[in-house]
């Protein structure tokens, strides 16, 4: 995915991965196995797998690059980057339980292999490692605040599946909490490691939150219109499970649209759904304006994010190049 990143960044990411591994190796045996399975290192009985399918460490990269943006010298903020990734992994473990998602990164999700209790316990262990490794003080506070927002976002996400009257604003707020908060923390933790001013810290956080929302919008679109390259997720799982993601809610809420009315009928019908019906549903989302709305929203978040970067480093146009490259990379529609 990251064809453009430099050798130095690659090296930093390897360090992040190694450090995550070191931390997980310290866990007691039972939860360690489940964590290692979830992280894509081992199969269900602890044997190393040949083709590792772990996370891409996008959030860690944002922490590392944000730090470099405010201070070009000094060490890579390894602990902060690792803590952010561990929080992310914790949230995936728990999220798959609530959402009943049976697959994650092209493999059966942890709970579907080990059972719900073990997946919850392994998630708890990763959260604990994150809260343990994050630098004390402002970084710990920022991470903790993001964890709490993330959990609130997850709770709303669960609640929304039972409600048919979600508004676009509610859904955006949920996505901001669920995805934006942690990316905001990733960037501000990088800023803290680089001793950024409080003004810059606030800007970095907002930058991350906006990029996070743009990223979520694109992920939602990719679920409805799968890119040619495999994502490791079952295709159109959101539509199949009647999930109310941002583009879908925008489409469902289109008042005068006939397509929206048809989509609502599908959403009120019982599961499961045929491939043909999913295809129809995706066309209805587009016809009701869900796709173009999401792209406009993404672009708005991105242009504000770009303005923020200019505020942080007005003179030096090269310092932020990699942060912006990464941003464009993850928010591109395939």
């Amino acid at each position: 995915m990251f064809s453009k990143i430099t050798e130095a960044q690659n090296e930093a990411l390897r360090e992040v991965e190694n450090r995550i591994r070191e931390e997980v190796e310290k866990l007691p045996p039972h939860v360690r196995l489940i964590a290692g399975y979830h992280l894509g290192w081992w199969d269900y009985d602890g044997q190393p797998v040949k083709h590792q399918s772990g996370g891409k460490r996008v959030r860690a990269l944002f922490t590392i690059l944000s730090k470099r943006m405010v201070r070009s010298t000094g060490e890579v903020p390894l602990e902060a980057a690792v803590a952010v990734e561990l929080v992310h992994e914790f949230s995936l473990l728990h999220d798959d339980v609530f959402d009943n998602d049976i697959s994650r990164r092209g493999r059966p999700s942890a709970w579907s292999v080990f059972g719900m209790p073990d997946a919850v316990l392994a998630g708890n262990a990763l959260l604990t490692l994150a809260l343990d490794i994050v630098p004390r003080g402002a970084a710990a506070e920022a991470l903790s605040a993001a964890v709490q927002l993330l959990l609130e976002g997850q709770a709303n996400d669960c609640a929304f599946t039972k409600r048919s009257d979600i508004t676009v604003d509610e859904c955006r707020e949920m996505a901001k909490m669920k995805t934006g908060a942690l990316l905001g923390a990733a960037c501000s933790l990088g800023g803290l490691a680089g001793q950024a001013s409080s003004n810059h810290l606030a800007l970095l956080r907002e930058f991350g939150e906006r990029v996070g929302l743009a990223w979520q919008l694109v992920n939602d679109l990719h679920d409805i219109w799968p890119p040619s390259m495999p994502t490791g997720k079952p295709e159109r799982s959101d539509l199949a499970s009647r999930k109310r993601t941002l583009p879908i809610v925008a489409a469902l809420c289109a008042d005068q649209s006939e397509a929206a009315a048809d989509l609502r009928r599908i959403y009120n019908s019982p599961q499961p759904t045929s491939t043909a019906l999913l295809e129809t549903a995706s066309q209805l989302v587009e016809a009701a304006g869900g796709r173009s709305w999401a792209l406009v929203e993404r672009d708005r978040e991105l242009s504000r994010a770009r303005e923020i970067l200019d505020l942080i480093s007005p003179q030096d146009q090269t310092a932020d190049i990699s942060v912006w490259d990464l941003t464009l990379l993850i928010t591109r529609l395939h």
Partner: protein, 367 residues
């Protein structure tokens, strides 16, 4: 009982000691309530409602109805506060001051971790009733209960970081809390595995309760001691005290789960047998080299439920293996070991009176 133990027991009658200890629990609950309540009320409204329901402050709609139970026993917070006070008294060589903010904060953090684990354990164990009400997951759903637990865990870390400890203490306290949570998770995982397979050595069962229960008792006493100004060695002694006390607590709990008097426990006779719980006495009995063990294995491996009528027979069977006597003796040993730890930091038994009372309550309780 040897002379050493007598000095620990003091002259108090059992009844009087328990009254005093119960007073300490009530006091601890009152001491931590404002901080705990404020922390919970900072949560987003959904979680605030679920957490407050779980703590017994209000019903499912967030309304305080007179019937709402006052929540748990506050034993762990009481241990934090009593440890802090004992440590301060030891350091100052005179009766110590009222409780301090760091001690209260640590007590609240420990109580939050305890409730995080309860919220999650109830989901995992499928338990429907807690403190005479539907459990949080039964009322609000699995996802909400797990998320609320997650939130309490994160809140516990926040609180500890916000307390007035200096930065070295803060780091130490944070490490202790994280290690404790990891041990609790491992203990719960081991317990689930044990309940499923029905097989474990006595050593494995003891290791399981050491993570599941004793780790947080140890953490409570260690954090309390640190808040009271303990050095590393003293804090370690308090930790050891808490560990032994936690072991005694769980072993007594397991005994009451089989032989508890329903008029005290408020639970059905042989509750743990009805649910085929692999508690320590059951594991001890199954591993005993007796004829009873053989019969018991037969009963426990059958898929048929143990009915009310069989409970008496199964209870007698376990008792005949000697498991009851053995586990009771182990609980007693842990209690005495706990006492020895205390004496190491408080040789003349004056600073740690409250901890001694709590230790007696834990070991001698009937419910």
């Amino acid at each position: 009982m040897d002379s050493v133990d007598r000095s620990f027991q003091e002259e108090q009658s059992s009844h009087g000691a328990h009254e005093l200890a119960s007073g300490l629990l009530a006091e601890a609950q009152a001491d931590i309530h404002p901080t705990l309540r404020a922390a919970i009320e900072r949560l987003p409204s959904t979680f605030c409602r679920i957490a407050g329901y779980h703590f017994g402050w209000w019903d499912g709609d967030g309304v305080s109805d007179g019937s709402a139970n006052a929540g748990g026993k506050s034993l762990r917070p009481a241990l934090v506060l009593a440890s802090a006070r004992a440590m301060k008294t030891i350091a100052a060589k005179r009766r110590a001051s009222p409780i301090t903010k760091p001690a209260v904060t640590a007590a609240v953090a420990v109580e939050l971790v305890h409730n995080f684990s309860i919220l999650h354990d109830d989901v995992m164990d499928g338990d429907l009733v807690r403190r005479h009400r539907p459990t949080a997951w039964a009322k609000f759903g699995t996802g909400n209960a797990i998320l609320t637990g997650d939130l309490l865990l994160s809140l516990a870390h926040d609180l500890l970081a916000e307390s007035l400890l200096d930065s070295a203490q803060d780091l130490q306290a944070a490490r202790i809390l994280s290690n404790t949570v990891l041990r609790m998770c491992e203990g719960q995982a081991a317990d689930l595995a044990l309940q499923e397979t029905g097989e474990a050595t006595v050593e494995e069962a003891l290791h399981m309760i050491s993570g599941k229960t004793a780790a947080l008792f140890a953490c409570a006493c260690q954090l309390g001691a640190i808040a009271g100004g303990a050095n590393a060695e003293q804090a370690e002694v308090f930790r050891a005290f808490g560990h032994n006390l936690g072991m005694a607590f769980q072993l007594v709990d397991d005994l009451l789960g089989i032989w508890g008097d329903p008029s005290f426990t408020g639970k059905p006779v042989g509750k743990d047998l009805l649910s085929r719980k692999m508690s320590v006495p059951v594991v001890v009995a199954l591993n005993s080299d007796t004829i009873g063990a053989e019969q018991l294995r037969g009963i426990y491996s059958e898929q048929v439920a143990i009915g009310n009528a069989d409970v008496k027979a199964v209870t007698r069977l376990i008792e005949a293996t000697g498991a009851r006597t053995l586990v009771a003796a182990q609980a007693e040993q842990h209690y005495h070991q706990a006492a020895r730890h205390l004496r190491y930091v408080d040789p003349d038994n004056t600073a740690s009176t409250e901890l001694q009372l709590l230790a007696r309550l834990v070991t001698e309780r009937q419910k």
